[in-house]
């Protein structure tokens, strides 16, 4: 039985079952970062009841309580209006401007 690696940085993301294409990315990212010994990502997925409603409520609740259970969310941007005034989501601006996300300029509508 594999023992948990305490040294690995652990991330916990929240999404719902409609976003079923995320798991392959998790495996690929962990591998790209040097394996589960370095980075380990877990995913919690709402898959019953109201998958979108539950997802949005949890995201808003985390922001309202300044909770730290989840590292991030894969979600439609719908909850942004609830979360942004509460400062619940981190600002990517420096990350992008510092060149950490060079692929940002590739996002449509890109450079028309």
């Amino acid at each position: 039985m594999a023992t948990p690696n305490a040294a690995a940085t652990k991330l916990l993301f929240l999404t719902n079952s409609i976003c079923d294409w995320i798991p392959p990315y998790i495996a690929a990212f962990e591998e790209a970062m040097g394996g589960k010994d370095r980075v380990e990502i877990s995913l919690i997925t709402y898959d019953s009841g109201d998958p979108f409603g539950d997802l949005f409520k949890t995201i808003e609740s985390e922001a309202r309580t300044q909770g730290t259970l989840f590292s991030g969310y894969v979600t439609p941007p719908s909850p942004m209006g609830d979360v942004a005034p509460l400062d619940g989501w981190a600002d990517f601006t420096s990350f992008i401007q510092d060149g950490r996300a060079e692929d940002w300029v590739d996002i449509l509508p890109a450079c028309e």
């Binding site: 439609p76 981190a90 990517f92 950490r100 692929d103 996002i107």
Partner: protein, 486 residues
């Protein structure tokens, strides 16, 4: 290989140009990812509604691709109930069961009349004052939807968007609208649309648009509908590609530690690249990704043909994704607080209208529009009045759309405070200047008296200038008083 229509975009910018980031930030993408001056989410998926049709059916009935919703209904009417290749046709197939996607279909039609100047002006609500953009446009939307339902698949009101897929795929439906990622469903092995029959275009537009002052519909012209085109009979029409639901995005919790935050951002960036082929699925499997292209680099025809999708169809699909996502008149879904309730209202009221009997016992389209307005306004005012509300809905809406904050309760108070502050400041400045001038004048008068050898009254001090009389009068009075005391 990225085709030439795509390369024409990449030639216009350098990913390493210092200006590129600024330009991107000012682009339409801002409306999906940003709040105020912050980028709070990382786009992973370019969700957009497209028009899908069976080319063989339209060709057989000498019909062209509809450019407006009226033309959509004309196509539907022309083929509905006809037989084609042994199958009885439906003119349109839209799953309309309540609680599914009815609000999105309604907004696709409505926005073609209300969204004419880009996301900053709003499409369901005005970004100026949060007023519903309904009026005659909503009445017309309800009529258009009722008309299309007349030519719809027999089970439309019992099913969700699987109807949009199955009925087109089995060759019994002429046309529908659906999300971009459903291309992989329509183009997969086994579909009746293979062999060049799958047609893809932008969702229809409208030759009439809402005049926001009168709330009445007016005809499009070249100035009022700059993002549309002209129909075959020369009418101008408006087109507003609709990013229904907004696609998937990645967001990072602002309250976790910096190391976690940084790593989570790297993960978001990694997913956004879409570099995992398995996630895209292929034409022969049941694994069909819900991830639409959101990047120039993902508009790669070969990526799809290598997985079994037809080249011409793929080019049509990717071309339409690019056109829609690059439109300056793209319609962004609501991201304001209360959005789910607002959309649920649109869904339920539309559903009730479409399923009601055509007689006087039912609400008219105008009455349904009034109830939608009233319910929306109530939802918004209830939210604004809650003690836990951080910002009024209008202010959040404006921040999300990158427009100056005006008119909300808080915004209005801020504006009033600024005006009052400026007036008070100017008054204070004026008083200080008058006092300084009076002190200067008094000092000059005292010096003159000293020069002339006159006795300066002992009570004549700088503070005397506060007394409401002219300096000359003040000196006379003080001199007289001093003389009397002597």
């Amino acid at each position: 290989m990225v085709r030439s229509y795509i390369l024409s975009l990449t030639n216009k910018c350098s990913p390493h140009s210092p200006n590129t980031y600024s330009y991107i930030y000012l682009s339409d993408r801002e409306y999906v990812a940003s709040f105020k001056s912050k980028i709070l989410s990382y786009p992973l998926d370019g969700d957009i509604l497209l028009y899908y049709y069976n080319k063989a059916i339209l060709d057989a009935f000498n019909l062209t691709v509809p450019q407006t919703w009226d033309e959509y209904n004309q196509v539907a009417e022309a083929v509905h109930g006809q037989t084609f290749e042994g199958k009885t046709l439906s003119g349109s197939c839209l799953g309309r069961v309540e609680g599914c996607a009815g609000a999105y279909w309604a907004q696709a039609v409505l926005s073609s009349m209300t969204a004419t100047k880009g996301p900053a002006t709003g499409s369901l609500f005005s970004t100026k004052d949060m007023s519903p953009l309904t009026g005659e446009a909503m009445v017309r939307t309800l009529d258009i939807m009722k008309e299309s339902a007349k030519y719809g698949s027999p089970n439309e009101f019992q099913g969700c968007w699987e109807i949009n897929i199955q009925d087109l795929n089995d060759g019994t439906c002429a046309q529908t609208i659906n999300w971009g990622n459903q291309f992989t469903e329509y183009a997969k092995v086994g579909s009746a649309l293979l062999g060049g029959r799958l047609g893809i275009a932008q969702t229809p537009g409208s030759a009439e648009i809402l005049d926001r002052d009168t709330m009445k519909l007016v005809d499009c012209d070249a100035d009022s509908c700059p993002y549309g085109g002209q129909t075959s009979d020369g009418k101008y029409f408006n087109q507003a590609p609709y990013l229904a639901f907004g696609g998937w995005s990645c967001a990072v919790n602002n309250y976790v530690d910096d190391e976690t935050k940084d790593l989570a951002m790297q993960f978001c960036s990694f997913v956004s690249k879409g570099a995992v082929p398995k996630a895209f699925g292929n034409a022969t499997s049941d694994l069909h990704s819900g991830q639409d292209p959101v990047r120039l680099s993902q508009l790669d025809v070969d990526t799809y043909t290598a997985r079994g999708y037809g080249e011409a169809t793929t080019e049509e699909y990717l071309g339409n994704i690019k056109t829609g996502l690059s439109s300056e008149n793209v319609v962004i879904d609501l991201r304001i607080p209360t959005a789910p309730s607002l959309m649920a209202t649109l869904d339920s009221k539309t559903y009730s209208y479409l399923t009601s009997a055509d007689d006087t016992s039912s609400l008219s389209a105008a009455e349904v529009t009034d109830t939608i307005d009233a319910t929306w306004n109530k939802i918004i005012s209830n939210y604004n009045e809650q003690p836990t509300t951080a910002l009024p809905v209008l202010e959040v809406y404006q921040q999300l759309r990158g427009v100056p904050v005006t008119g909300s309760d808080t915004g209005g108070r801020n504006t009033t405070a600024i005006i009052v502050g400026c007036v008070v400041g100017l008054l204070l400045l004026l008083i200080i200047m008058i006092l300084a001038w009076r002190i200067h004048k008094l000092n000059a008068a005292i010096k003159d008296m000293e020069k002339r050898g006159e006795q300066v009254p002992p009570n004549l001090r700088a503070s005397s200038v506060l007394r409401p009389m002219s300096i000359t009068k003040l000196i006379e009075k003080e001199s007289l008083k001093a003389a009397e005391e002597e």
